[in-house]
Symmetry: C2
Subunit: 424 residues, 2 copies
Amino acid sequence: MADYLKMWQDLGMDVEMHNQLCEVLPQAFGDVYLTQKNRPEAMDYFNFVVAEIHGVRPVELIEHQKKGGKVFGTFCLYVPDEVVFAAGAIATGLCGGSQFWVPGGEKVLPVNTCPLIKASVGARLDRTCPFFRIADMFVGETTCDGKKKAYEILGEDVPMYVMNLPQMKRRKDILAWAEEIKDFIKVVEDFTGNKVTEESLADSIRLINAKRTALARLYDLRKNENIPISGKDVLVISQIAFYDDPTRFTEKVNKLCDELDQRVKDGVSVFPKGTKRILLTGTPLAIPNWKLHHIIETSGAAVVGEEMCTGIRYFEHPVDETATTIDGQAEALAERYMNINCACFTPNDKRIDDIIRLAKEYKADGVIDVNLKFCELYDTEGYKVERALKEAGIPILGIETDYTDSDAQQLSTRIGAFVEMLSK
Amino acid sequence: MADYLKMWQDLGMDVEMHNQLCEVLPQAFGDVYLTQKNRPEAMDYFNFVVAEIHGVRPVELIEHQKKGGKVFGTFCLYVPDEVVFAAGAIATGLCGGSQFWVPGGEKVLPVNTCPLIKASVGARLDRTCPFFRIADMFVGETTCDGKKKAYEILGEDVPMYVMNLPQMKRRKDILAWAEEIKDFIKVVEDFTGNKVTEESLADSIRLINAKRTALARLYDLRKNENIPISGKDVLVISQIAFYDDPTRFTEKVNKLCDELDQRVKDGVSVFPKGTKRILLTGTPLAIPNWKLHHIIETSGAAVVGEEMCTGIRYFEHPVDETATTIDGQAEALAERYMNINCACFTPNDKRIDDIIRLAKEYKADGVIDVNLKFCELYDTEGYKVERALKEAGIPILGIETDYTDSDAQQLSTRIGAFVEMLSK
């Protein structure tokens, strides 16, 4: 990624520190991804995006800014991208998936904070993430204690707007979320100087729905007995979904799906016959966190689905496109987003229904419940999840991990034993 | 507390396990409290309440139930006691302040959960707390991730109602909380079979305001240069406030204040002249958690105030008594409760203003910011609190602790050094 040096300098990044990351990332991607056999050709695009992760998309965002456009950085899939795009702005995910950024976060946050939050804050404060440098405004949400309070500290360094996500899902909570979305529309309008109209919002709803449809098509292909693509490859696509231009991303995912359709017709699988199928559930896996997929898929199993924010939660439930007023569209958006079953809600029993349904749909032999260390929400909910799955007769393994490699050997052993158990 | 054996058996308690607690509690109270010199005579009542903590009040609650009354157990000071008393029911705090209950909570909750939550859940599941056995209904709130999710597990064992506390304090959030209070009124009416009327609610608002006024009077007395009562003694009173009959409690606190008024006139202090004055801030100290006060007050300093739920947050800001309709009263209650500056809100800068104001009012020489381990909210907010106090020139010491005694020696050393530093 050396060609982007000037851009990084112009962005005020700590180039020297950032170089350390640039040096290790290609090696990691090579080890985890490029060693796979029989990868679909259409993965080339996604390989390229990862190889240039801090270059190619940042260039586009800066181009957009040069034309007077704004960029909004977001941390969580409850913030509706549709509103941002409807105002002619761009929404982008932010860095947060590597141990590289964690020490920077620990300078201001408690060590007992989940690595995703620590890494996000560290990436910003250490000036080693171009997306954090580029974004004109940051949009947070009250999804968990850790993020909610970390935004207060981040907000001293960046322009931060926080949306108040209700903690329950009664009708009045959905309407309250619709009100928050309408408030957000005003904020985006004021900040961009562009009006969000019924037409522009309808367009952006269709834009993001198309992305969701493409991802749903990709995930559906994993339900085949012959699995035409590895879990790892789908994971990185799900991660790129947060950053990439939505039109191009959708096109590239659909192109990949065309190739995978042919593989299904031809009975091609990237895994040997009888490979055990794993559904993951739990906390998000931000790029470049590929640790667990790598361990599972080098332990004789295949990841066939992720009931995660970097996964199925991201694309299930398209937004209803029939509303024709801003009020109606805001309500349709609220209903869609409040349909995501994050552990931040109470009660959240529908997530358990989801996991059991998805385990069947994806023909999973077992489920691994992954919790990022110090995520109190998913950790506590794991008690009910694991009990419910046992009651449903679905083998389940609960795992807690962080971004370090210190537990990789131990995880390998545990996951290997779990996969072996599934084979008996 | 042996006379209550039959009652505990009838409550379905694990009497054998509970006996272990009964054996150690008097010793702990004796060591921490009864060794103090020159205690106010009116502390006798509070000594008695602690000595009989699992006996005398439970007897009254059961008497109330025998007459057809209901008992509501609460975990947090955002749940408005006024509504409960207005329906002829009784609100009571629940157990949660001892390491004794922690292992029981860890059976179902992550170890990385704050000890207060683990102890509460353990006290219920292990059947070693009479209040948890007596309460007919439990009322939770969405104040933190840990409690919010723990209530889902507790709710499988007890009838649980959870109020959705907004995470911000804009006008619409205060009105949303007023709506939650009105919903709660309906729940309490349905459950008790008693109507909450304007009159009964006005009565209960006055009842609880009188308790607040008495506590404010007690705390005001600590602002004197000659401190007429120890921090420890006030702490246990603040803890008892959550359990005791409000009318009697108010009367007893006022009686104590009469005695303390005389001490002030006579220039009597329970501390030597020049003793350094400490304001505490942070997470709640539930009964029988006296650890920190004991360490501070045996390290040559005096605790003169607690910016805590077990402290000033509990009684500051009386409810406006002028409203004459249920809607108006609910709004007055919402405004009062949303005036409490818990770290669950974002932003929560008013808490920092509070701490600086209180440090001045109570003439504190220094502030100790106490965080219960794994409380992400207060831990993260501590970063801004400690920075703001340093900027204001107020010496501050940040401490993280739990319910075990394992860090007592280390805390003594750190606090001793802090107090010594204040003396220079």
